[in-house]
Amino acid sequence: MSPHGFRRLLRIRPRPGDVEQELRFHLDSRIEDLIRNGSTREDARARALAEFGDVDRTARELRASRRRLLTRRARADWRSDLRLDAKIAWRGLLRRPGLAASLLLILGLASGACGAIFTVVRAAWFAAMPYPEPGRLLNVYEVKSDGELSEASWPDYMDWRTQVGSDFSGLAGYDPANVFVGEVGDTRMLRAARVTAEFFDVLGIAPSRGRAFRTGEDGPGGTPIALLSHGYWQRQFGGDPAVIGRVLTVNGAPCTIVGVLPKGFHFAPAGDAELWLPLDRDADLRTQRSDHWLLVVGRVADGKSLREARTGLELVMGRLAGAYPESNKGRTVRVTPLRDAVIGEIRPALIALSLAVALVLVIACANAAGLFLSRTLGRARELSVRMAIGATRGRVVRQLVTESLLAGVGGAIIGVIVARLGVRYLVGGLDEGALDHLPFFRDLSPDGVTVAFLALLAIITGLGAGLAPALVGARADALHSLGGTVRPTATQRSGRLRDGLVAGQLALTLALLSGTALMARSLLSLLSQDLGFQPEEVVTGRVALTGPAWESTSAQQRFFETLLARVKTIPGVRSAGAISNLPLSPGGTNTFRVEGEPEPDQASRPEATRRQVAGEYFQAMGIPLLAGRVFSQRDDSTTQPVIMVSASLAKRYFPGGRAVGRRLRFFAFPDTTWEVIGVVGDVTVGRIDADLPPIYYLSHLQVAANRLTLTARTSSGTSMYPALRAQLATMAPGVALYYEAPMTTVVSDSPAIVARRYPLRVIGALAAVAILLAVAGVYGVVSNNVAERRREIGIRSALGANRMQLIGLILRRGALLVGTGLLSGGLLALIFSRALGSMLYGVKPGDPVTLGLVTLGLGATTLVASWWPARRAGRVDPAEILREE
């Protein structure tokens, strides 16, 4: 040990008079020397002082110098202590590899899970909006009189732009659509969006090559030009810089590439479109105020608040409602941050996952703290010796905490790997369709920021796991310890801490488990919900007819009739039909008026979702016919226009429920009267967790469609696809079949299910880890309890207690512990399940049955975990105990 080391150990600090004493010694010695050489005392003193110079000033300067020196030494000592502590900690961990491995595993898994969720949440927050000043971007919807959101009409949009004044620096429209790219016979479906000329200006994005769209290019009929996403440019053109000016065939027509968008650009509300085209709607579609098809994004002007922008737009919309009551009465506007449109759907899941993973981290810390506590107690003798020979309590605590910090750092290093795997698992669980709406999750992996976050977690977990055990351990009574046997006070104190840690873990685990159970019940109640159709044995696939060859409606109708007839010849197919949009996908609505009923108020016109059907759609889907008849091939353009309606439509708008035979008119086609010929059962339209809306069905033979989704009920399942594709190829080369999926998959991949199944899977895994840790914690406490009370048990046994009484003795304490944990956990569970909020369906956050069952289950599991070591109490041999004394 260096001299400084000894001084520190002996706690010798320089006294304030050190400098004075040194100088006085110098002057005194000099004076004595001079006197010895024959000077008088006065002369000697004067000479010594003269030789020295300004004594006071020197003393001041020397004191400053010493202060600097001591501060620096203290720092250096601190650093060398740290190195020493780290070395001791490292050796200590190596000496007990089992403990070290459990610590690293626990902290590594927990901090890795945190790192993974952190990476995902961070991407959702920052990478989701790759535009300058993303907080100023807003989505603008119209709101129907019934409160539902709708797209804007073109005239409304134009009026917003001209009348909203200086609140917005720009408003732009977009219209997502799938297009078919390539020559006939070799087309591929591509996600695309048609946008107004100012769209990229509003987002603040300039193409990395070429140019953006210019004013006027988005007029009626559009302009045959396109912008490519960076990804599509790389994939399809190998990043060829000469791509500008090349011609693509889009939906059968030539289209010139004018630019490439920058790398990293995406626009999730348009489904991560790869091809961007100017808006091309015809002039007549742009004059109808009742035609709502345009999605609108706007940027708040500098210096204006979101509230000002909202108020401004609401005023404009109010004026429009007054000026055009026919179309706009009752319609308002809703302005929401663009961020809500991008991550609004996944926000509840992200919040739930963040909370869950934080709970697991706390559980892991508590668990690690328990492990450290037993280790510290096992070293009580060593620590007492160190304190007895002069180490301060702070010094010992520091050394113990260094050990836990080292474990935290090790955990974080493992955590980086776990986070990498975790992100892959999280993002890998999303299918392509989901990724199109969450493009910022594509190719996601932890980066430097995640590593920095894990470094922070290392400190938090290190302190969290090590501080309390170190404080308790360092309080161990030196005398008792050195005396050798039992130390009642320290044992009691550490026992309380250990019990508290385990009870806390149980409480958190119960919260997590309750959340999982509630989400599982939500998912089950969604899956067992009556969808209104039988998805089993139904396979689906979408067929689109695009290009000039298919423009005539009779060609479209002939094609689908022939196709359905041929599908029926495929072996195994019992019935075949087609529909414009499958159940569970949204669709356009129309307002109508029932003949013979009083003229409805404009704001409360009957409204229903429109679907076109072909063939034996209802039969194939298993939707029951409740009244009247279904469409036949005789219902075509030469006969009376007919419609079918859903049960809820019949019930709501046809008093008495007798709809068949009644007539109605749509406001969109005022000249045609439609006769209701049949009523079918209700089916879901949008999300499963939404209400069943009224639907009306048209026959494609009366209102043609160029895209329909086939639905075939077949015993051969998806193995009919090759036959279907072969049929399509022989009928019309170049017609694409896409979105092929069994109906059961369509249901299980629908947003309402995915939004719950996906986080459930993750939270379930976290809950499983939590249970494991909690059970291990209970087991550890109880076995420790048995070991500590061996003497007591032995004496009781010698005094005649039987085996069951002894086990009961131990078990009682275990039960007390579990009970405390579960009781406080119940409260936490209520809080946590409330945070799940909108993710729950068909079950309330505090559902007593679920919470009760979960509590019972966890209680039983942990009691078994304490029964196991408690049995050992029954096997204690009193003779052996007495011999040990």
Binding site: S29, E51, T58, R68
Partner: protein, 112 residues
């Protein structure tokens, strides 16, 4: 002989050298310097102590309290390992320097 102003840094070397044979207190160093140079170089005591503390701050010397010849508490300074290294280095560079200066001052001809 006249007082000589010490060239900057020279005092440090002299102090280090004074400690080359073992620990000394401040007064001992001052006396040794005076005796060794026959009072040629007059060091202000104040400057000596500032130099001692400066060298201590640089870890070239270290200090410890001890008892003096006349049984009084005195602060003894000794060279650290770094101080010994520094002394060797400065000694040789000083010798080179002094030789060079000497050669110039003893020069007898204007051209080389």
């Amino acid at each position: 002989m006249a007082d000589l102003d010490l060239v900057q840094g020279t005092l440090d070397v002299l102090v280090l050298k004074a400690l080359a044979w073992g620990p000394r207190h401040g007064y001992g160093i001052a006396r040794w310097l005076r005796d060794t140079t026959d009072d040629t170089i007059l060091v202000e005591d104040r400057a000596l102590y500032l130099a001692l503390h400066r060298l201590e701050e640089r870890d070239l010397i270290e200090a410890e309290w001890g008892l003096s010849e006349n049984n009084r508490k005195a602060r003894y300074y000794s060279l650290t390992r770094a101080g010994k290294r520094e002394l060797t280095q400065r000694q040789s560079s000083w010798t080179l320097y002094a030789d060079a200066v000497f050669k110039v001052l003893r020069a007898t001809r204007a051209d080389a």
